[in-house]
Protein backbone atom coordinates (compact mmCIF):
# COMPACT_ATOMS: atom_id res chain seq x y z
CA UNK A 1 0.00 0.00 0.00
CA UNK A 2 2.72 2.45 0.88
CA UNK A 3 4.08 2.38 -2.66
CA UNK A 4 0.85 3.94 -3.83
CA UNK A 5 1.53 7.12 -1.90
CA UNK A 6 3.91 8.34 -4.54
CA UNK A 7 1.30 8.40 -7.31
CA UNK A 8 0.00 11.83 -8.10
CA UNK A 9 -3.20 11.41 -10.09
CA UNK A 10 -4.16 13.99 -12.66
CA UNK A 11 -7.42 15.70 -11.81
CA UNK A 12 -9.18 14.88 -15.02
CA UNK A 13 -12.89 15.48 -15.02
CA UNK A 14 -12.66 18.47 -12.76
CA UNK A 15 -12.73 21.70 -14.70
CA UNK A 16 -10.13 24.28 -13.86
CA UNK A 17 -11.66 27.43 -12.49
CA UNK A 18 -10.00 30.24 -14.40
CA UNK A 19 -11.91 33.40 -13.72
CA UNK A 20 -11.62 36.18 -16.24
CA UNK A 21 -10.47 39.38 -14.64
CA UNK A 22 -11.96 42.60 -15.92
CA UNK A 23 -11.13 44.99 -13.09
CA UNK A 24 -8.40 47.54 -13.68
CA UNK A 25 -5.56 47.43 -11.19
CA UNK A 26 -3.65 50.49 -10.14
CA UNK A 27 -0.33 49.75 -8.50
CA UNK A 28 -0.56 49.85 -4.72
CA UNK A 29 -4.22 50.76 -4.82
CA UNK A 30 -6.70 47.85 -4.48
CA UNK A 31 -9.93 48.50 -6.30
CA UNK A 32 -12.79 47.56 -3.98
CA UNK A 33 -15.02 46.81 -6.95
CA UNK A 34 -12.59 44.33 -8.55
CA UNK A 35 -14.27 41.30 -6.97
CA UNK A 36 -17.52 42.21 -8.64
CA UNK A 37 -15.94 41.71 -12.02
CA UNK A 38 -14.89 38.06 -11.61
CA UNK A 39 -16.92 36.21 -14.16
CA UNK A 40 -18.02 32.67 -13.41
CA UNK A 41 -17.51 30.10 -16.16
CA UNK A 42 -20.44 29.01 -18.31
CA UNK A 43 -22.15 26.02 -16.78
CA UNK A 44 -24.26 23.87 -19.10
CA UNK A 45 -25.85 22.16 -16.09
CA UNK A 46 -27.15 25.45 -14.74
CA UNK A 47 -28.48 26.31 -18.18
CA UNK A 48 -30.29 23.01 -18.82
CA UNK A 49 -31.30 22.13 -15.27
CA UNK A 50 -33.20 24.93 -13.57
CA UNK A 51 -34.59 22.81 -10.71
CA UNK A 52 -32.17 19.94 -9.99
CA UNK A 53 -34.48 18.17 -7.54
CA UNK A 54 -37.32 18.14 -10.10
CA UNK A 55 -35.28 17.39 -13.24
CA UNK A 56 -34.99 13.91 -14.74
CA UNK A 57 -33.24 12.65 -17.87
CA UNK A 58 -34.98 10.08 -20.04
CA UNK A 59 -34.18 8.43 -23.38
CA UNK A 60 -36.67 8.61 -26.25
CA UNK A 61 -37.48 5.64 -28.47
CA UNK A 62 -39.39 6.21 -31.70
CA UNK A 63 -39.63 9.06 -34.21
CA UNK A 64 -43.24 10.23 -33.82
CA UNK A 65 -42.01 13.62 -32.58
CA UNK A 66 -39.35 14.30 -35.22
CA UNK A 67 -40.99 17.54 -36.38
CA UNK A 68 -39.94 19.16 -33.09
CA UNK A 69 -36.40 17.83 -33.61
CA UNK A 70 -36.71 14.79 -31.38
CA UNK A 71 -35.26 11.56 -32.75
CA UNK A 72 -35.07 8.03 -31.45
CA UNK A 73 -32.16 7.70 -29.04
CA UNK A 74 -32.15 11.37 -28.03
CA UNK A 75 -31.83 12.41 -24.43
CA UNK A 76 -34.65 14.51 -22.99
CA UNK A 77 -34.44 16.95 -20.08
CA UNK A 78 -37.70 16.76 -18.14
CA UNK A 79 -38.60 19.38 -15.53
CA UNK A 80 -41.40 18.22 -13.24
CA UNK A 81 -41.60 21.57 -11.45
CA UNK A 82 -43.22 23.13 -14.52
CA UNK A 83 -46.96 23.01 -15.03
CA UNK A 84 -47.97 21.79 -18.47
CA UNK A 85 -49.99 24.21 -20.58
CA UNK A 86 -51.47 24.06 -24.08
CA UNK A 87 -48.69 23.17 -26.59
CA UNK A 88 -46.21 21.95 -23.94
CA UNK A 89 -44.18 18.89 -24.96
CA UNK A 90 -44.90 16.47 -22.14
CA UNK A 91 -44.07 13.03 -20.86
CA UNK A 92 -47.51 11.53 -20.34
CA UNK A 93 -48.20 8.59 -18.07
CA UNK A 94 -50.86 6.93 -20.20
CA UNK A 95 -52.29 3.56 -19.13
CA UNK A 96 -49.09 2.76 -17.28
CA UNK A 97 -46.77 3.72 -20.15
CA UNK A 98 -44.58 6.80 -20.47
CA UNK A 99 -45.17 8.52 -23.80
CA UNK A 100 -43.81 11.81 -25.19
CA UNK A 101 -46.35 13.98 -27.05
CA UNK A 102 -47.52 17.55 -27.53
CA UNK A 103 -50.28 18.47 -25.08
CA UNK A 104 -53.21 20.33 -26.63
CA UNK A 105 -56.02 21.90 -24.69
CA UNK A 106 -58.83 22.90 -27.02
CA UNK A 107 -61.74 24.35 -25.10
CA UNK A 108 -62.52 21.74 -22.47
CA UNK A 109 -60.96 18.92 -24.45
CA UNK A 110 -57.42 17.60 -24.00
CA UNK A 111 -55.36 15.83 -26.67
CA UNK A 112 -51.94 14.25 -26.97
CA UNK A 113 -50.62 14.86 -30.49
CA UNK A 114 -47.58 13.55 -32.35
CA UNK A 115 -45.41 15.86 -34.48
CA UNK A 116 -46.04 15.88 -37.44
CA UNK A 117 -49.63 15.83 -36.33
CA UNK A 118 -50.99 13.84 -39.23
CA UNK A 119 -50.29 10.89 -36.90
CA UNK A 120 -52.86 9.58 -34.49
CA UNK A 121 -53.98 12.08 -31.86
CA UNK A 122 -55.18 10.70 -28.51
CA UNK A 123 -58.09 12.35 -26.75
CA UNK A 124 -57.95 12.31 -22.96
CA UNK A 125 -61.35 11.57 -21.46
CA UNK A 126 -62.60 11.01 -17.93
CA UNK A 127 -62.03 7.29 -18.49
CA UNK A 128 -58.38 7.66 -19.59
CA UNK A 129 -55.74 6.68 -17.08
CA UNK A 130 -53.64 9.79 -17.65
CA UNK A 131 -51.26 12.07 -15.78
CA UNK A 132 -48.65 14.58 -16.93
CA UNK A 133 -45.37 13.02 -15.72
CA UNK A 134 -43.26 16.05 -16.60
CA UNK A 135 -42.61 18.83 -19.09
CA UNK A 136 -39.80 18.31 -21.62
CA UNK A 137 -37.54 21.38 -21.71
CA UNK A 138 -34.61 20.31 -23.90
CA UNK A 139 -33.65 17.61 -26.43
CA UNK A 140 -30.01 16.56 -26.46
CA UNK A 141 -29.21 15.09 -29.85
CA UNK A 142 -25.80 13.64 -30.65
CA UNK A 143 -24.37 14.25 -34.14
CA UNK A 144 -21.83 11.44 -33.80
CA UNK A 145 -22.39 8.13 -35.62
CA UNK A 146 -25.40 9.40 -37.54
Amino acid sequence: MLKVASIHPAHRGEALELPIFFGSVRAGFPTPAADDHFETKLDLNAMLVKQPSATFFVRVEGDAMHDVGMWSGDLLVVDRSLTAVDRSIVIAALDGDLLVRRLRRVGKRTFLEPEPNEGESIEITAETNFEVWGVVTYVIHSLENR
Binding site: M1, L2, V4, A5, I7, P9, H11, R12, G13, Q51, P52, S53, A54, F56, F57, V58, R59, V60, E61, G62, D63, A64, M65, M70, S72, L75, L76, R80, S81, I91, A93, G96, D97, L98, L99, V100, P114, E131, W133
Partner: protein
Protein backbone atom coordinates in the same frame (compact mmCIF):
# COMPACT_ATOMS: atom_id res chain seq x y z
CA UNK B 1 -45.11 27.04 22.57
CA UNK B 2 -43.89 25.18 19.59
CA UNK B 3 -45.23 23.34 16.59
CA UNK B 4 -43.76 20.51 14.53
CA UNK B 5 -44.59 18.74 11.30
CA UNK B 6 -43.46 15.24 10.43
CA UNK B 7 -43.36 14.63 6.69
CA UNK B 8 -43.17 10.93 5.81
CA UNK B 9 -42.97 9.45 2.31
CA UNK B 10 -45.72 6.86 1.78
CA UNK B 11 -44.26 3.36 1.25
CA UNK B 12 -41.11 5.10 0.06
CA UNK B 13 -39.21 2.33 -1.78
CA UNK B 14 -42.37 1.07 -3.49
CA UNK B 15 -43.29 4.66 -4.44
CA UNK B 16 -39.82 5.18 -6.00
CA UNK B 17 -40.41 2.13 -8.22
CA UNK B 18 -43.82 3.50 -9.26
CA UNK B 19 -42.45 6.88 -10.36
CA UNK B 20 -40.57 5.18 -13.20
CA UNK B 21 -43.04 2.40 -13.77
CA UNK B 22 -46.57 3.86 -13.59
CA UNK B 23 -47.96 0.44 -14.51
CA UNK B 24 -47.38 -0.49 -10.85
CA UNK B 25 -49.84 2.13 -9.58
CA UNK B 26 -52.69 0.35 -7.79
CA UNK B 27 -50.86 -3.00 -7.89
CA UNK B 28 -49.25 -4.77 -4.93
CA UNK B 29 -45.48 -4.10 -4.78
CA UNK B 30 -42.87 -5.33 -2.30
CA UNK B 31 -39.18 -4.48 -2.06
CA UNK B 32 -36.71 -6.96 -0.58
CA UNK B 33 -33.71 -6.32 1.64
CA UNK B 34 -30.36 -6.36 -0.04
CA UNK B 35 -29.82 -10.12 0.17
CA UNK B 36 -33.39 -10.57 -1.11
CA UNK B 37 -34.11 -12.18 2.26
CA UNK B 38 -36.73 -9.96 3.89
CA UNK B 39 -39.55 -7.71 2.77
CA UNK B 40 -38.52 -4.16 3.66
CA UNK B 41 -41.21 -2.12 1.87
CA UNK B 42 -44.81 -2.80 0.89
CA UNK B 43 -47.33 -0.85 -1.13
CA UNK B 44 -50.78 -0.46 0.49
CA UNK B 45 -52.08 -3.23 -1.78
CA UNK B 46 -49.37 -5.59 -0.47
CA UNK B 47 -50.18 -4.62 3.13
CA UNK B 48 -53.83 -5.44 2.41
CA UNK B 49 -52.77 -8.98 1.48
CA UNK B 50 -51.50 -9.34 5.05
CA UNK B 51 -47.80 -9.37 4.17
CA UNK B 52 -46.06 -8.08 7.32
CA UNK B 53 -43.06 -5.75 7.48
CA UNK B 54 -39.65 -7.46 7.67
CA UNK B 55 -41.21 -10.84 6.84
CA UNK B 56 -38.84 -13.42 5.35
CA UNK B 57 -39.49 -13.58 1.59
CA UNK B 58 -39.52 -17.38 1.42
CA UNK B 59 -42.39 -17.58 3.95
CA UNK B 60 -44.61 -15.37 1.75
CA UNK B 61 -43.52 -16.58 -1.65
CA UNK B 62 -46.73 -18.51 -2.26
CA UNK B 63 -48.97 -15.55 -1.42
CA UNK B 64 -46.78 -13.27 -3.52
CA UNK B 65 -47.02 -15.54 -6.56
CA UNK B 66 -50.72 -16.22 -6.11
CA UNK B 67 -51.59 -12.49 -6.11
CA UNK B 68 -49.08 -11.41 -8.76
CA UNK B 69 -47.26 -9.16 -6.32
CA UNK B 70 -44.47 -7.25 -8.07
CA UNK B 71 -41.19 -8.02 -6.32
CA UNK B 72 -38.09 -5.80 -6.46
CA UNK B 73 -34.62 -6.12 -5.01
CA UNK B 74 -33.47 -2.99 -3.21
CA UNK B 75 -32.26 -0.31 -5.62
CA UNK B 76 -30.37 1.89 -3.18
CA UNK B 77 -28.88 4.09 -5.92
CA UNK B 78 -32.42 5.05 -6.95
CA UNK B 79 -33.89 5.33 -3.43
CA UNK B 80 -30.93 7.40 -2.23
CA UNK B 81 -31.25 9.84 -5.13
CA UNK B 82 -35.04 10.14 -4.76
CA UNK B 83 -34.62 10.72 -1.02
CA UNK B 84 -32.17 13.54 -1.70
CA UNK B 85 -34.65 15.11 -4.14
CA UNK B 86 -37.55 14.92 -1.67
CA UNK B 87 -35.41 16.42 1.12
CA UNK B 88 -34.18 19.21 -1.18
CA UNK B 89 -37.74 20.15 -2.10
CA UNK B 90 -38.82 20.12 1.56
CA UNK B 91 -35.79 22.14 2.64
CA UNK B 92 -36.82 24.87 0.20
CA UNK B 93 -39.93 25.71 2.24
CA UNK B 94 -38.32 26.94 5.48
CA UNK B 95 -35.05 28.37 6.78
CA UNK B 96 -32.35 25.75 7.30
CA UNK B 97 -32.58 25.79 11.10
CA UNK B 98 -36.27 24.79 10.92
CA UNK B 99 -35.64 21.56 9.02
CA UNK B 100 -34.33 18.16 10.12
CA UNK B 101 -33.80 15.12 7.89
CA UNK B 102 -34.81 12.33 10.28
CA UNK B 103 -34.36 9.30 8.03
CA UNK B 104 -34.21 8.38 4.36
CA UNK B 105 -37.95 9.02 4.02
CA UNK B 106 -38.89 11.25 6.99
CA UNK B 107 -38.21 14.86 7.90
CA UNK B 108 -39.27 17.14 10.74
CA UNK B 109 -40.11 20.80 10.32
CA UNK B 110 -40.41 23.39 13.05
CA UNK B 111 -43.44 25.48 12.10
CA UNK B 112 -43.08 28.16 14.82
CA UNK B 113 -42.27 30.73 12.18
CA UNK B 114 -45.70 30.21 10.57
CA UNK B 115 -47.64 30.82 13.80
CA UNK B 116 -49.27 34.14 14.59
CA UNK B 117 -50.35 34.49 18.22
CA UNK B 118 -50.79 31.80 20.86
CA UNK B 119 -53.91 30.11 19.59
CA UNK B 120 -53.11 26.98 17.54
CA UNK B 121 -56.70 26.62 16.39
CA UNK B 122 -56.74 30.16 14.95
CA UNK B 123 -53.78 29.15 12.79
CA UNK B 124 -55.39 25.95 11.64
CA UNK B 125 -56.38 27.00 8.11
CA UNK B 126 -53.00 28.54 7.46
CA UNK B 127 -51.17 25.42 8.68
CA UNK B 128 -53.33 23.10 6.61
CA UNK B 129 -52.85 25.12 3.44
CA UNK B 130 -49.08 25.22 4.04
CA UNK B 131 -49.05 21.43 4.51
CA UNK B 132 -51.14 20.96 1.37
CA UNK B 133 -48.71 23.12 -0.62
CA UNK B 134 -45.78 21.02 0.68
CA UNK B 135 -47.53 17.75 -0.12
CA UNK B 136 -48.58 18.88 -3.59
CA UNK B 137 -45.13 20.23 -4.49
CA UNK B 138 -43.22 17.10 -3.39
CA UNK B 139 -45.70 14.94 -5.31
CA UNK B 140 -45.42 16.99 -8.50
CA UNK B 141 -41.66 17.60 -8.47
CA UNK B 142 -40.54 14.11 -7.45
CA UNK B 143 -43.59 11.88 -7.95
CA UNK B 144 -43.38 10.73 -4.31
CA UNK B 145 -46.59 10.92 -2.20
CA UNK B 146 -46.10 12.09 1.38
CA UNK B 147 -48.21 12.23 4.55
CA UNK B 148 -47.94 15.11 6.99
CA UNK B 149 -48.69 15.18 10.72
CA UNK B 150 -48.74 18.49 12.61
CA UNK B 151 -48.67 18.80 16.42
CA UNK B 152 -47.05 20.73 19.30
CA UNK B 153 -44.36 18.05 19.95
CA UNK B 154 -42.31 15.71 17.80
CA UNK B 155 -43.86 12.63 19.45
CA UNK B 156 -47.39 13.92 18.76
CA UNK B 157 -46.41 14.91 15.20
CA UNK B 158 -45.29 11.29 14.66
CA UNK B 159 -48.65 10.09 15.97
CA UNK B 160 -50.51 12.64 13.82
CA UNK B 161 -48.63 11.39 10.78
CA UNK B 162 -49.80 7.86 11.57
CA UNK B 163 -53.40 9.22 11.61
CA UNK B 164 -52.85 11.00 8.30
CA UNK B 165 -51.83 7.65 6.79
CA UNK B 166 -54.68 5.63 8.36
CA UNK B 167 -57.30 8.19 7.42
CA UNK B 168 -57.52 8.02 3.67
CA UNK B 169 -60.17 10.75 3.72
CA UNK B 170 -57.92 13.20 5.59
CA UNK B 171 -56.03 14.06 2.39
CA UNK B 172 -52.80 12.66 3.87
CA UNK B 173 -52.63 15.60 6.29
CA UNK B 174 -53.60 15.52 9.97
CA UNK B 175 -53.24 18.43 12.39
CA UNK B 176 -53.49 17.73 16.09
CA UNK B 177 -53.83 21.20 17.62
CA UNK B 178 -55.99 20.72 20.73
CA UNK B 179 -56.09 18.26 23.61
CA UNK B 180 -59.41 16.65 22.69
CA UNK B 181 -58.09 15.77 19.23
CA UNK B 182 -54.85 14.49 20.78
CA UNK B 183 -56.71 12.28 23.25
CA UNK B 184 -58.94 10.77 20.58
CA UNK B 185 -55.88 10.09 18.44
CA UNK B 186 -53.86 8.55 21.29
CA UNK B 187 -56.75 6.37 22.47
CA UNK B 188 -56.69 4.59 19.10
CA UNK B 189 -52.94 4.06 19.13
CA UNK B 190 -51.23 0.99 20.66
CA UNK B 191 -48.55 2.06 23.15
CA UNK B 192 -45.93 0.14 21.16
CA UNK B 193 -46.48 2.46 18.18
CA UNK B 194 -45.48 5.56 20.17
CA UNK B 195 -42.23 7.14 18.96
CA UNK B 196 -39.40 5.98 21.21
CA UNK B 197 -41.27 3.09 22.87
CA UNK B 198 -39.41 -0.08 21.94
CA UNK B 199 -40.62 -3.65 22.08
CA UNK B 200 -39.34 -4.37 25.61
CA UNK B 201 -40.73 -1.17 27.09
CA UNK B 202 -44.11 -1.67 25.44
CA UNK B 203 -44.29 -5.20 26.95
CA UNK B 204 -43.51 -3.72 30.36
CA UNK B 205 -46.22 -1.09 29.89
CA UNK B 206 -48.77 -3.65 28.79
CA UNK B 207 -47.99 -5.77 31.85
CA UNK B 208 -49.21 -2.75 33.85
CA UNK B 209 -52.39 -2.33 31.78
CA UNK B 210 -50.95 0.56 29.76
CA UNK B 211 -52.06 -0.56 26.32
CA UNK B 212 -52.74 2.65 24.42
CA UNK B 213 -50.78 5.86 23.97
CA UNK B 214 -53.52 7.61 25.94
CA UNK B 215 -52.95 5.22 28.88
CA UNK B 216 -49.29 6.23 28.84
CA UNK B 217 -50.17 9.91 28.69
CA UNK B 218 -52.40 9.53 31.77
CA UNK B 219 -50.17 7.14 33.76
CA UNK B 220 -48.77 8.44 37.09
CA UNK B 221 -45.69 10.49 36.31
CA UNK B 222 -43.62 9.10 39.22
CA UNK B 223 -44.27 5.53 38.16
CA UNK B 224 -43.28 6.19 34.51
CA UNK B 225 -40.12 7.93 35.63
CA UNK B 226 -39.17 5.00 37.87
CA UNK B 227 -40.14 2.26 35.43
CA UNK B 228 -39.03 3.83 32.13
CA UNK B 229 -36.33 6.26 33.30
CA UNK B 230 -36.08 9.83 32.12
CA UNK B 231 -36.47 8.72 28.50
CA UNK B 232 -39.94 7.29 29.12
CA UNK B 233 -40.85 10.33 31.19
CA UNK B 234 -39.81 12.59 28.31
CA UNK B 235 -42.07 10.59 25.97
CA UNK B 236 -44.95 10.99 28.42
CA UNK B 237 -44.41 14.76 28.64
CA UNK B 238 -44.31 14.97 24.84
CA UNK B 239 -47.64 13.10 24.69
CA UNK B 240 -48.98 15.73 27.09
CA UNK B 241 -48.01 18.45 24.61
CA UNK B 242 -44.82 19.65 26.32
CA UNK B 243 -42.05 19.74 23.74
CA UNK B 244 -38.90 18.02 25.10
CA UNK B 245 -37.19 16.83 21.92
CA UNK B 246 -35.85 19.72 19.94
CA UNK B 247 -35.19 19.87 16.22
CA UNK B 248 -31.72 18.74 15.20
CA UNK B 249 -31.12 20.85 12.17
CA UNK B 250 -29.14 19.28 9.40
CA UNK B 251 -26.10 21.51 9.57
CA UNK B 252 -24.98 19.66 12.68
CA UNK B 253 -22.67 16.83 11.76
CA UNK B 254 -23.64 13.18 11.68
CA UNK B 255 -23.03 11.17 14.87
CA UNK B 256 -22.42 7.72 13.48
CA UNK B 257 -21.93 5.92 10.17
CA UNK B 258 -23.31 2.43 9.74
CA UNK B 259 -22.51 -0.06 7.01
CA UNK B 260 -24.40 -3.30 7.38
CA UNK B 261 -25.27 -6.05 4.92
CA UNK B 262 -26.81 -9.48 4.94
CA UNK B 263 -24.92 -12.20 3.10
CA UNK B 264 -26.48 -14.04 0.22
CA UNK B 265 -25.06 -17.36 1.45
CA UNK B 266 -24.04 -18.08 5.02
CA UNK B 267 -20.39 -17.25 5.58
CA UNK B 268 -18.71 -20.09 7.45
CA UNK B 269 -15.04 -19.26 7.06
CA UNK B 270 -13.54 -16.68 9.38
CA UNK B 271 -11.26 -15.49 6.55
CA UNK B 272 -14.32 -14.58 4.48
CA UNK B 273 -15.91 -12.88 7.44
CA UNK B 274 -12.72 -10.84 7.85
CA UNK B 275 -12.88 -9.86 4.17
CA UNK B 276 -16.52 -8.81 4.43
CA UNK B 277 -15.97 -6.72 7.55
CA UNK B 278 -12.87 -5.10 6.02
CA UNK B 279 -14.89 -4.22 2.93
CA UNK B 280 -17.77 -2.75 4.97
CA UNK B 281 -15.28 -0.76 7.03
CA UNK B 282 -13.77 0.57 3.81
CA UNK B 283 -17.17 1.81 2.64
CA UNK B 284 -17.90 3.47 5.96
CA UNK B 285 -14.44 5.09 5.99
CA UNK B 286 -15.02 6.43 2.48
CA UNK B 287 -18.20 8.11 3.68
CA UNK B 288 -16.38 9.41 6.76
CA UNK B 289 -13.80 11.16 4.58
CA UNK B 290 -16.46 12.49 2.22
CA UNK B 291 -18.15 14.17 5.21
CA UNK B 292 -14.83 15.58 6.45
CA UNK B 293 -15.10 13.70 9.75
CA UNK B 294 -12.75 11.54 11.82
CA UNK B 295 -13.76 8.65 14.06
CA UNK B 296 -12.65 7.65 17.55
CA UNK B 297 -14.49 4.38 18.02
CA UNK B 298 -15.33 1.39 15.77
CA UNK B 299 -17.95 -1.20 16.51
CA UNK B 300 -18.50 -4.52 14.71
CA UNK B 301 -21.33 -6.99 15.12
CA UNK B 302 -22.05 -10.33 13.45
CA UNK B 303 -24.95 -12.74 13.58
CA UNK B 304 -26.17 -16.03 12.19
CA UNK B 305 -29.54 -16.65 10.53
CA UNK B 306 -32.37 -15.66 12.83
CA UNK B 307 -34.97 -17.67 10.95
CA UNK B 308 -33.51 -21.07 10.26
CA UNK B 309 -30.81 -21.80 12.80
CA UNK B 310 -31.65 -23.45 16.11
CA UNK B 311 -28.40 -22.16 17.62
CA UNK B 312 -28.75 -18.47 16.94
CA UNK B 313 -25.44 -16.73 17.58
CA UNK B 314 -24.77 -13.02 17.64
CA UNK B 315 -21.94 -11.02 19.09
CA UNK B 316 -20.46 -7.56 18.86
CA UNK B 317 -17.70 -5.40 20.24
CA UNK B 318 -16.16 -1.98 19.93
CA UNK B 319 -12.65 -0.63 19.88
CA UNK B 320 -11.41 2.79 20.90
CA UNK B 321 -8.76 4.15 18.61
CA UNK B 322 -5.60 5.73 20.04
CA UNK B 323 -6.35 8.89 18.06
CA UNK B 324 -9.26 10.05 15.89
CA UNK B 325 -8.71 8.88 12.33
CA UNK B 326 -10.28 8.69 8.89
CA UNK B 327 -7.77 6.21 7.53
CA UNK B 328 -9.20 2.99 6.09
CA UNK B 329 -5.99 1.26 7.17
CA UNK B 330 -6.35 2.17 10.85
CA UNK B 331 -10.07 1.44 10.85
CA UNK B 332 -9.75 -1.92 9.10
CA UNK B 333 -7.02 -2.93 11.57
CA UNK B 334 -9.30 -2.09 14.47
CA UNK B 335 -12.31 -3.84 12.89
CA UNK B 336 -10.22 -6.91 12.14
CA UNK B 337 -9.06 -7.16 15.75
CA UNK B 338 -12.70 -7.01 16.77
CA UNK B 339 -13.66 -9.84 14.42
CA UNK B 340 -10.97 -12.01 16.03
CA UNK B 341 -12.45 -11.18 19.41
CA UNK B 342 -16.17 -11.62 18.72
CA UNK B 343 -16.49 -14.29 16.00
CA UNK B 344 -16.54 -18.02 16.66
CA UNK B 345 -15.33 -20.67 14.26
CA UNK B 346 -17.98 -23.04 12.94
CA UNK B 347 -20.91 -20.62 12.70
CA UNK B 348 -22.85 -19.76 9.54
CA UNK B 349 -22.83 -15.96 9.56
CA UNK B 350 -25.69 -14.21 7.80
CA UNK B 351 -25.04 -10.57 8.59
CA UNK B 352 -22.27 -8.22 9.68
CA UNK B 353 -22.39 -4.53 10.62
CA UNK B 354 -19.69 -1.94 11.07
CA UNK B 355 -20.47 1.33 12.86
CA UNK B 356 -18.13 4.29 13.24
CA UNK B 357 -18.85 6.35 16.38
CA UNK B 358 -17.43 9.34 18.19
CA UNK B 359 -17.28 11.43 15.02
CA UNK B 360 -15.80 14.91 14.98
CA UNK B 361 -15.04 17.30 12.16
CA UNK B 362 -11.50 16.67 10.96
CA UNK B 363 -10.44 20.29 11.39
CA UNK B 364 -11.52 20.32 15.05
CA UNK B 365 -9.33 17.44 16.22
CA UNK B 366 -6.97 18.08 19.12
CA UNK B 367 -3.61 16.45 18.54
CA UNK B 368 -2.13 14.31 21.25
CA UNK B 369 1.66 14.47 21.39
CA UNK B 370 1.90 10.87 22.59
CA UNK B 371 -0.34 9.26 20.01
CA UNK B 372 0.20 10.61 16.53
CA UNK B 373 -1.59 9.44 13.42
CA UNK B 374 0.53 8.17 10.56
CA UNK B 375 0.45 11.16 8.22
CA UNK B 376 1.28 8.97 5.21
CA UNK B 377 -2.23 7.52 5.43
CA UNK B 378 -3.71 10.83 4.38
CA UNK B 379 -2.13 10.75 0.93
CA UNK B 380 -2.95 7.06 0.50
CA UNK B 381 -6.61 7.66 1.36
CA UNK B 382 -6.69 10.60 -1.04
CA UNK B 383 -5.38 8.43 -3.86
CA UNK B 384 -7.83 5.67 -2.94
CA UNK B 385 -10.86 7.98 -2.97
CA UNK B 386 -9.79 9.68 -6.21
CA UNK B 387 -9.25 6.41 -8.06
CA UNK B 388 -12.46 4.85 -6.74
CA UNK B 389 -14.41 7.92 -7.76
CA UNK B 390 -12.95 7.71 -11.24
CA UNK B 391 -12.89 3.97 -11.88
CA UNK B 392 -15.80 2.85 -9.74
CA UNK B 393 -16.25 1.54 -6.23
CA UNK B 394 -13.51 -0.80 -5.05
CA UNK B 395 -11.16 -0.14 -7.99
CA UNK B 396 -8.61 0.29 -5.22
CA UNK B 397 -9.15 -1.38 -1.85
CA UNK B 398 -7.16 -2.97 0.93
CA UNK B 399 -6.02 -6.54 0.34
CA UNK B 400 -7.86 -7.37 3.56
CA UNK B 401 -11.21 -6.83 1.77
CA UNK B 402 -10.53 -9.76 -0.55
CA UNK B 403 -8.63 -9.99 -3.81
CA UNK B 404 -11.47 -10.21 -6.29
CA UNK B 405 -14.08 -7.75 -5.08
CA UNK B 406 -16.54 -6.89 -7.78
CA UNK B 407 -19.27 -5.23 -5.81
CA UNK B 408 -22.82 -5.68 -6.97
CA UNK B 409 -22.52 -3.78 -10.22
CA UNK B 410 -24.51 -4.88 -13.21
CA UNK B 411 -22.45 -6.63 -15.84
CA UNK B 412 -19.89 -7.93 -13.37
CA UNK B 413 -20.02 -11.41 -11.92
CA UNK B 414 -22.40 -11.26 -8.99
CA UNK B 415 -21.55 -12.77 -5.70
CA UNK B 416 -18.02 -13.91 -6.47
CA UNK B 417 -17.75 -13.68 -2.69
CA UNK B 418 -20.30 -15.57 -0.67
CA UNK B 419 -20.87 -12.50 1.48
CA UNK B 420 -21.82 -10.18 -1.32
CA UNK B 421 -25.43 -9.07 -1.60
CA UNK B 422 -27.72 -10.24 -4.34
CA UNK B 423 -29.73 -7.87 -6.49
CA UNK B 424 -31.60 -10.25 -8.73
CA UNK B 425 -34.78 -8.22 -9.27
CA UNK B 426 -33.34 -4.73 -9.09
CA UNK B 427 -34.94 -2.09 -11.32
CA UNK B 428 -32.77 0.26 -13.39
CA UNK B 429 -30.80 2.99 -11.65
CA UNK B 430 -32.84 5.57 -13.58
CA UNK B 431 -31.37 8.70 -12.02
CA UNK B 432 -27.71 7.84 -11.43
CA UNK B 433 -26.52 5.84 -14.49
CA UNK B 434 -26.56 7.15 -18.07
CA UNK B 435 -26.87 3.61 -19.40
CA UNK B 436 -29.98 2.89 -17.31
CA UNK B 437 -32.22 5.89 -18.10
CA UNK B 438 -35.96 5.39 -18.36
CA UNK B 439 -37.00 4.92 -22.01
CA UNK B 440 -40.11 6.82 -23.11
CA UNK B 441 -42.06 5.94 -26.23
CA UNK B 442 -42.48 8.42 -29.05
Amino acid sequence: MSLFALIDCNNFFASCERVFNPRLVGKPVVVLSNNDGCIVARSNEAKALGIPMAAPYFQWRAVIEQHNVHVFSSNFALYGDMSRRVMDVLAGFLPEECFEVYSVDEAFMNLDCLLRGDDYAANREKLLSFAEEVRRTVRQWTGIPVSIGIAPTKTLAKAANRMAKKNAGANSIFACLDEATADAMLAAMPVGDVWGVGRKLSEAYRAHSITTALDLKNAPEEWVRKRATVVGWRTQRELRGVSCVRLESTNEHQHSILHSRSFRHAVTSLDQLHEAVASFTGRAAEKLRRLGLVCGCVSVSVRTNRFSSEDYFSNGGEALLPFPTDSTIDLVNAASMLVDKIAQEGQGYKKASVTLFDLTPRNRVQTDIFAQPDTRHESIMHVMDTLNKRFGKDALHLAASGSSITGSRSGSPLGSHAWQGATDERSQRYTTHWGELKVVRS
